[in-house]
Symmetry: none
Subunit: 194 residues, 4 copies
Amino acid sequence: MNSAVIDKREKILKAALNLFTERGFHNTPTSLIAKEAGVATGTLFHHFKNKEELINRLYLDLKKQKMNALIEAVDETASLQEKLKSMWINGVQWGIMHPKEFQFVMQYSNSPFISHLTKEQAMGEYQSTFCLFEQAISDGLIKPAYPEFVADYFEGIFNLAVSHFRKYPEKISEENLDLAFDMCWNGIARVLES
Amino acid sequence: MNSAVIDKREKILKAALNLFTERGFHNTPTSLIAKEAGVATGTLFHHFKNKEELINRLYLDLKKQKMNALIEAVDETASLQEKLKSMWINGVQWGIMHPKEFQFVMQYSNSPFISHLTKEQAMGEYQSTFCLFEQAISDGLIKPAYPEFVADYFEGIFNLAVSHFRKYPEKISEENLDLAFDMCWNGIARVLES
Amino acid sequence: MNSAVIDKREKILKAALNLFTERGFHNTPTSLIAKEAGVATGTLFHHFKNKEELINRLYLDLKKQKMNALIEAVDETASLQEKLKSMWINGVQWGIMHPKEFQFVMQYSNSPFISHLTKEQAMGEYQSTFCLFEQAISDGLIKPAYPEFVADYFEGIFNLAVSHFRKYPEKISEENLDLAFDMCWNGIARVLES
Amino acid sequence: MNSAVIDKREKILKAALNLFTERGFHNTPTSLIAKEAGVATGTLFHHFKNKEELINRLYLDLKKQKMNALIEAVDETASLQEKLKSMWINGVQWGIMHPKEFQFVMQYSNSPFISHLTKEQAMGEYQSTFCLFEQAISDGLIKPAYPEFVADYFEGIFNLAVSHFRKYPEKISEENLDLAFDMCWNGIARVLES
DNA sequence: AATGAATGAGCATTCATTCAT
DNA sequence: CATGAATGAATGCTCATTCAT
């Protein structure tokens, strides 16, 4: 009983994810989502107050999944640089293996469809990661550029790398993932004077 | 009369740019564009076959403007690195001074609203720039990563930099522009062993 | 258990009365009635076949209450004029003390939501009162206008008086109730030549 | 051209009047109004911002018609009582000849569908009539009951009379109209002591 | 009896596009 | 070329009612 209920909710979210990434938010009728989910139109509105709540709910769920993927199995005893690299690799792999989820989160991060409140909630999950950058700067591990830029930069290249590997799947290899991280990192890292 | 005609066409394009960036394509009725442009609803369809043609036309115009801004006043006799830096700085400055135009081009570059044909035409403008990267790689000026990644990387960080400066306008300064380029470049540049 | 059942039924009727008078029939979802009654949506349909039956049932209940209020404690030995005045005063007082109930009965008396059958049943209760008018006419107590008009007139002014006192509660006083009846009555009563 | 435009607007208003009085506001889909008016659904919303504006517009139009009917051809030189009687007779005749219009105005006068603003505008038209009552009271022509009640009373019986004659059309005659007015009036008029 | 998730027909409203003037 | 009234398919959302538990 309960599982059937959750099932429908999940099916709606899944269908919404597929359709939103394929067709965009405004070009995806709720009726189509319901149809794709194998559910009546009214059912969608039983689970989500309206279309906007659906998209916000979806965004929050996926953002959380992404963040969980980042920190999964990161060796707590490793060095800061190694931690960041692990997270980067984890994240890129998650992005490659969950293309829709990744695209959705990236595409709607700056979208007006996502409410301010949702963005704040999502940002909360990000906080712990952000601390790592601050620490890396104070440790002298990375360039002393102001932290806002570092954060934008890091996430930007991260997204860029995933997008790239989705565009050229044949380029995916451990070597190229390392290369991508290296290009990112050597743009941040303090160049040690010899 | 002729100038009045051009006027209306321009006004429509201008209104469309403002509205598309503020509200998105699907959330911008043609009637609103017409109203904002001070023109009758029918007039829009005299100048553009339909809404899609309008957006494609707009995209192409702006992409061309952006490309022209890049190569403007680049010293032909300068070194390759200096040329690339000039273009970068030019581009970032254009992006800062034309926020709507920049956002529109970036936002819709990967959008399904832009037809394949339009994208190809736009890509044509990019060709000459792309050559510079190939040359830079073969010159040993930048890392021998495969050129597709370099191109994505370069453009990605470029967009990232502009977005960043739009988010934090108080950070705009010659110094920070240089810093941004430096962070980009030292992620690409071969690190010379001492 | 049985009392709990009755309780729910009563709660539904009570909630329906409040909501129907505040928002109208069509603007009151059954789900809202259920919610306001503290009951599941399905429960409403256990007690009433459908929304229409609910409203008809409610109408009949309230009409009966109103009629009972009219004849309550009327002195059987009093004169006809005194009886009618007692009923009038009783009725106005009931209307003042049961504003929702009064409004509902008045509002839906001519409404298509109330079925023909229901109206006839309700009219049955009215019959005995109607006889009084016929008698009053034949007694020469009131003007020899045809009885249909007298009945409409009497009830019309009655409703009017209640509505008036609900609009201006500060005007409620024994004196003004008498005044209202007097205005009603002297429009009916044969003016005796001196 | 212009006449065609007005035509459609008028047709919509007319269809709306018929349907609203027959089926009520909430039970009348805009699609049905459009259909009945021989017009596309969109056309309705071209002329009226939404359903609510349509009903408010309609109310205002009809209220104005009713008021105009009241004061039409009233002899300015006649006595106050004669003036009021003329208006009463005019009004009842208008109500009889325009049953839908009359019912609509009466039915929605106290309805929440009519906005406060609309009611105020409509009340404005009523002002001059209201003055007549004040004058009649100060002239000692009618009972010195407080004017709010007199106004409610007068209008109430007026509506009542029209409703009555619509229910019993066979009772319509000059004689009965006079009778109805007489019953109204002798409930107001000061009974002169002999 | 009671529950509340599910249903899907129905509704108000929007909007790209047309076309007579 | 320009206008803007008219169109009607499409869409987000509501709600009375059902039914498995």
